[in-house]
């Protein structure tokens, strides 16, 4: 039964990491575990976590999205300006989601119909979306958002709206991966696309679906982001796709596809969120913070590869091949 125990350890190791981290953080600073600080952490990580879900779904199915940050900014500024002219929060939210979904459908067309590698296709989208956002706002920030800030700063009862968004989205994503055919299909597509085709899975349709879901998530993240900073920033959220990717990878999503979970990704986002928070609390230089985060990403990826090498012989062979090549 040794085998099983290893699997269990592997399955929960990420949660243990977070747990240990929380203990260490609370020892480093007594304010860390205060309700105010914890709420603050979750509020701050919600945008990254929502983006991370989109990235996780894409990585699981063998793709990724480099355009998330730029599309977030585009849908955010459009949403903000629609709010300013219409005054309707619902329409503002819808506009953000629709804009982000359209961008992601274009991503999906490039990836499925034109067989562009997701890396390149979404990189192009990143540049284009950022360009449109800047063009539309003439490079100016949109200020005075009035009631729009309710998304990022308001509360329903004692709970912040952004946390409610995060909870609902988490449940939906978890359900999607765990309890729908789409979820199983995504794992199969990322695990071996050709085998998925030969098993009767409509790979193209599923890739569209996952990009559309990503679009919805990015759109919501756009609204939360803009309302949290109380401005429409066409230059905002630069590199946020990396925040999402980092959380997904730290949370155990395998970059080679086919592996990744909702709770893992959320935990990944929490680990990054707690790390940011504690480093601020104990006053670590922000440049040093970047270095620490980089090191964490490297460790997460090394861990991912290491645990796979132990499990399979095939990976060993591939590495041997690489060794031979590099010699």
């Amino acid at each position: 039964m040794k085998f099983r125990n290893n699997r269990v350890m592997e399955k929960y190791s990420i949660f243990i990491v977070l747990f240990v981290m929380i203990i260490i953080c609370s020892l480093l600073n007594e304010n860390f575990l205060s309700t105010g600080n914890i709420t603050n952490i979750i509020k701050q990580l919600s945008v990254a976590a929502i983006l991370a879900y989109g990235e996780m779904l894409l990585i699981v199915s063998g793709m990724l999205d480099l355009s998330a940050g730029a599309v977030l900014a585009l849908s955010g500024v459009l949403s903000v300006s629609v709010y300013k002219s219409s005054g309707s929060l619902i329409i503002a939210l819808l506009v953000a989601v629709i804009v982000a979904v359209v961008c992601n459908i274009i991503n999906a067309i490039m990836v499925t119909s034109f067989k562009a590698p997701p890396f390149i296709a979404t990189l192009a989208m990143q540049t284009v979306a950022r360009g449109i956002a800047l063009l539309f706002t003439k490079g100016q920030n949109i200020l005075q958002l009035d009631n729009y800030v309710v998304f990022g700063q308001g509360n329903i009862g004692p709970i912040p709206v952004s946390i409610i968004f995060l909870i609902i989205i988490t449940i939906i994503i978890w359900y999607l991966l765990r309890h729908t055919r789409l979820g199983r299909s995504l794992y199969a597509i990322g695990g071996n696309e050709e085998a998925a085709v030969a098993s009767g899975i409509n790979v193209k349709l599923n890739k569209y679906k996952v990009f559309i879901i990503n679009g919805i998530l990015v759109g919501i993240a756009g609204v939360l982001f803009m309302s949290r900073v109380n401005a429409g920033l066409p230059n905002g959220a630069v590199g946020y796709e990396m925040e999402g990717l980092t959380a997904a990878i730290v949370g155990g999503t395998s970059f080679s596809g086919g592996i990744g979970t909702t709770m893992g990704t959320l935990t990944g986002a929490f680990i990054i969120g707690c790390l940011n928070n504690i480093m601020n609390l104990i006053g670590i230089d922000s440049y040093v913070q970047q270095i620490v985060k980089g090191v964490i990403i490297a460790l997460a990826v090394i861990w991912d590869i290491h645990s796979k090498t132990k499990k399979t012989t095939k990976v060993v062979l591939v590495e041997e091949k690489e060794k031979v090549v590099s010699n």
Binding site: F3, H179, Y187, A198, T313, L317
Partner: protein, 497 residues
């Protein structure tokens, strides 16, 4: 101890999580001989070879070369001891040229450290002409066929001045003509004092070239003998640990109505005017050389590749098959060739690999019924004798035969009327082969139909009611059971009517 022992391993043990892959292995190879390893998949042959090649480290035990103890750290290190391995999965860089692949890792350099392309070209040309191979040195590997590449791999190993060559299923992807060339090559190597460890499931080949035979079962060496002291039945019995009385469990079934009929199926440049049928209770075979178009026809019928004209009739009704989904709806399934590429989803569990075909049966009413899934899949696995540590085990850690059984279970879960098998027994062991044959017979008994594409004539002859033969994208012959013989099949397979 015998004289002239080139390679010896003593008391080698190796465990993986959950399994003891090798248990106190003793084994030795004489200089200038061919030593064949026989055993079912998962018996430990490949693991032992990987230890000898330095890919795995043994838990305990010792390797001796020329009776001197050695520690082999990695494949490059193994090469320095004169050990070369021709892996079952080919190692090559498709985008690189023949010359680059041949000298990969050993490209000649000038004294300034720049690659000496002129010398490389010269060496390659010398080499290719010495071996009588008609390739250009700057041809990219991806333009060659699998069998050409296999030959190059073999030659590459020889080119390395190896003293011990491990060949893991070297003939699984090459044609008979090339097998003959390979065997001649092996004879030459033997006379030069090279020792060869030869792993193959094809026992006729083993008896053709082996001097010694060692039989593995469940991670131990069962017996090791001179080939002349053994025969095929004995080897099979030792491999599986029991006697298989009837290798081909084919039963006589009264045939029913035509179940599937293919009419004038064409795909431009791939195959032409394909007409055949299969009746209820029938097993038909497709023979032909590699590249005859058999796989392509089956893929088109299954909805994986498009057709240009012609139609498919099931139960006398015309059916539209544009995708795998359509095919599944018509209760037709296909076990594709090349398990690794089109079959398994390596990192996912064996359960998910099987249940992917019946997602709508386990995910309904808004959620996934995992308990039902475990039950359905588990029952089928035990019916098909799938050996796996648990249902959560990633399929990639199973042996080839067990992977194949999982994939078969996946399709049988759909309860198909028509089962298409494309090279179902390639690279799998005798025991798993027998399970697959049994399943085919079972299908026929239930008045369903089986179509088997195979390059192994004995199994076609043993299992089928009728055999179609293809060559160059056309059906060139049809043989009834009374007409079955290897010679006439080969005649049709090379004819160009």
């Amino acid at each position: 101890m015998e004289p002239n022992i080139k390679l010896r391993v003593s008391q080698i043990e190796k465990s993986f999580p959950g399994v003891k892959a090798l248990n106190k292995i003793d084994f030795s190879v004489r200089k200038g001989t061919v030593h064949a390893l026989c055993g079912e998949n998962g018996a430990g042959k490949s693991t032992l070879m990987k230890i000898i090649n330095g890919i795995y480290k043994p838990d305990t035990g010792q390797i001796f070369i020329d009776e001197k103890p050695v520690k082999i750290l990695n494949p490059i290190h193994a090469r320095s001891y004169g050990i070369a391995m021709i892996a079952q999965e080919l190692n090559y860089v498709p985008e690189m040229s023949i010359e680059e692949n041949l000298f990969l890792g050993r490209l000649p350099v000038t004294k300034y450290g720049k690659v000496d392309w002129k010398l490389l070209r010269k060496k390659t040309i010398e080499f290719l002409s010495a071996e009588g191979l008609p390739y250009k040195p700057d041809q990219k590997l991806k333009t060659l066929t699998v069998s050409d590449i296999q030959m190059l791999e073999i030659i590459k190993a020889i080119n390395n001045k190896a003293e011990i060559i491990v060949m893991d299923e070297p003939t699984s992807a090459i044609t008979q003509r090339e097998v003959d060339i390979l065997f001649k090559k092996i004879e030459v190597l033997k006379s030069q004092g090279v020792s060869i460890v030869y792993i193959s499931h094809k026992l006729d080949e083993v008896f053709q070239i082996a001097d010694d035979i060692t039989i593995f079962r469940d991670g131990t060496v069962v017996e090791s003998h001179r080939a002349s002291d053994l025969d095929m039945d004995k080897v099979i019995a030792l491999m599986v640990g029991r006697k298989i009385e009837n290798v081909y469990p084919k039963e006589e079934i009264k045939l029913g109505d035509k179940l599937l009929e293919i009419k004038d199926l064409c795909s431009t440049g791939v195959f032409k005017n394909i007409n055949f049928h299969v009746s209820k209770g029938e097993i038909i075979g497709f023979a032909g050389l590699v590249g005859a178009g058999r796989t392509e026809v089956m893929r088109a019928i299954f909805g994986l590749d498009p057709i240009t004209s012609g139609h498919i009739m099931k139960d006398g009704q015309k059916v539209e098959i544009k995708s795998v989904k359509d095919s599944i709806k018509n209760k037709m399934v296909m076990l594709t060739e090349d398990r690794r590429r089109y079959g398994i989803i390596p990192i996912r569990s064996v359960m998910e690999n099987a249940s992917i075909s019946i997602l709508e049966k386990i995910i309904y009413g808004g959620y996934a019924h995992e308990r039902e899934e475990r039950k359905i899949v588990g029952e089928y696995f035990s019916k098909m004798n799938v050996k796996t540590p648990s249902l959560e085990t990633p399929i990639q850690s199973l042996s080839g035969g067990n992977q194949q059984k999982v994939l078969l279970a996946k399709w049988m879960l759909r309860n198909p009327d028509i089962l298409i098998l494309d090279e179902p027994t390639r690279g799998i062991d005798v025991g798993a082969k027998f399970e697959i044959y049994k399943l085919m017979s079972e299908m026929a008994k239930q008045n369903r139909a089986v179509i088997m594409v195979s390059s192994e004539l004995p199994e076609l002859i043993g299992m089928c009611d009728r055999i179609y033969v293809m060559n160059q994208g056309k059906i060139t012959g049809e043989l009834q059971k009374s007409e079955f013989c290897q010679e006439s099949i080969m005649k049709y397979a090379t004819s160009t009517i």
